[in-house]
């Protein structure tokens, strides 16, 4: 039911920018499994899914982007969707074993001298 001529109509109240992420995930706000950090890395694995795989265009775009390792933050930026939405979609792909993921270096791993050396070597060779 729409609002009558007397009352305020609410059909324009919701910003489409808010609706899009919601529709893309069908209202889900949490991935089915795992917790993808903003800098968890994802990589597409296995053969590309066929048209009958039941994937949405956004899923396919993520798979395309992740032919090279990409972080959740990067995927979100390239697809212009909030990071939370990307987490849900990545969860779908992870469940179907279409992506593999790597969690970031954690606070407890920050004592690893090998990591510091690799980062310094990498920065020096830029």
């Amino acid at each position: 039911m729409r609002g009558g001529t007397d009352g305020p109509t609410d059909e324009h109240w919701v910003d489409p920018e808010i609706i899009r992420p919601y529709v893309v995930t069908r209202g889900r706000t949490q991935p089915a499994h795992g917790r993808f950090d903003l800098i968890s890395m994802a990589l597409a694995v296995g053969p590309p899914p066929g048209p009958d795989a039941g994937l949405d265009p956004e899923h396919l775009r993520i798979l395309q982007l992740c032919r090279e390792p990409k972080s959740v933050a990067e995927i979100a930026a390239y697809l212009d969707l909030p990071a939370g939405t990307i987490r849900v979609l990545l969860g779908d792909l992870f469940d179907r074993e279409l992506v593999s993921a790597q969690e970031p270096q954690s606070e407890v791993d920050m004592h690893d001298m090998k990591m510091y050396r690799a980062v310094l070597d990498g920065l020096r060779s830029l």
Partner: protein, 195 residues
């Protein structure tokens, strides 16, 4: 590991460094100068943990806020990818910093000598949290020049915290700042401690 799979292809591990400082101190400029792509932007919906940052709207126990963050990427060989995140400038987003600072290698605090006081909150925050940080004085044209030790005094930095001059627009200069931070963080955290 949540993501363990038997035949997993090799994926790099991501590391993050935060770039903090007052509004207009050159955070996004520095991120762009050293990154392999133009600065990207991501939006994160975060839950305010209610640390009393915004007393006018404290009616709700829990709020969510969407925060935009600029970031860049540097691929370091096959094993690591470094992400640089510009921290959101507004003080009411402190709670975002906690999520960002968690697991970070360290932070660069960019100081602008025209508005030195703007980086006090960042210095306080990273000191309190125990996150390794360096202070990089961004040399803006026409800005008053100070001796680094004067800046150290003004910011009440302990002698152990590195402080350097930089030009955030320059790749080479920004890279030196990152190298200084990584060395500092390694000194503080890598085992054996203090060596």
């Amino acid at each position: 590991m949540v993501f363990a799979r038997s035949e997993r292809p090799r994926l790099p591990t991501a590391i993050k460094i935060l770039v903090a400082g007052g509004f207009g101190a050159g955070k996004t400029t520095m991120v762009g100068a050293v990154s392999e792509t133009r600065p990207l932007r991501t939006e994160e919906v975060l839950t305010d943990r209610g640390i009393g940052v915004d007393d006018l709207t404290s009616v709700e126990a829990k709020r969510t806020t969407t925060v935009a963050m600029d970031f860049g990427r540097i691929t370091l060989g096959n094993d690591y990818v470094l992400y640089l995140f510009g921290t959101p400038g507004q003080e009411r987003f402190w709670f975002v910093w906690d999520e960002l600072a968690e697991g970070s290698l360290g932070a660069v605090i960019l100081a602008d000598t025209r508005r030195l006081a703007d980086c006090f909150p960042s210095v306080d925050y990273f000191e309190r949290r125990g996150t390794p940080f360096v202070v990089a004085v961004n040399c803006f044209e026409g800005a008053p020049t100070f001796e680094l030790e004067e800046v150290r005094l003004a910011l009440q930095l302990s002698p152990s915290i590195p402080i350097i001059m930089c030009d955030a627009r320059k790749r080479e200069s920004s890279r030196e700042v990152l190298i200084t931070l990584v060395k500092h963080s390694a000194r503080l955290r890598a085992e054996p401690v203090g060596s």
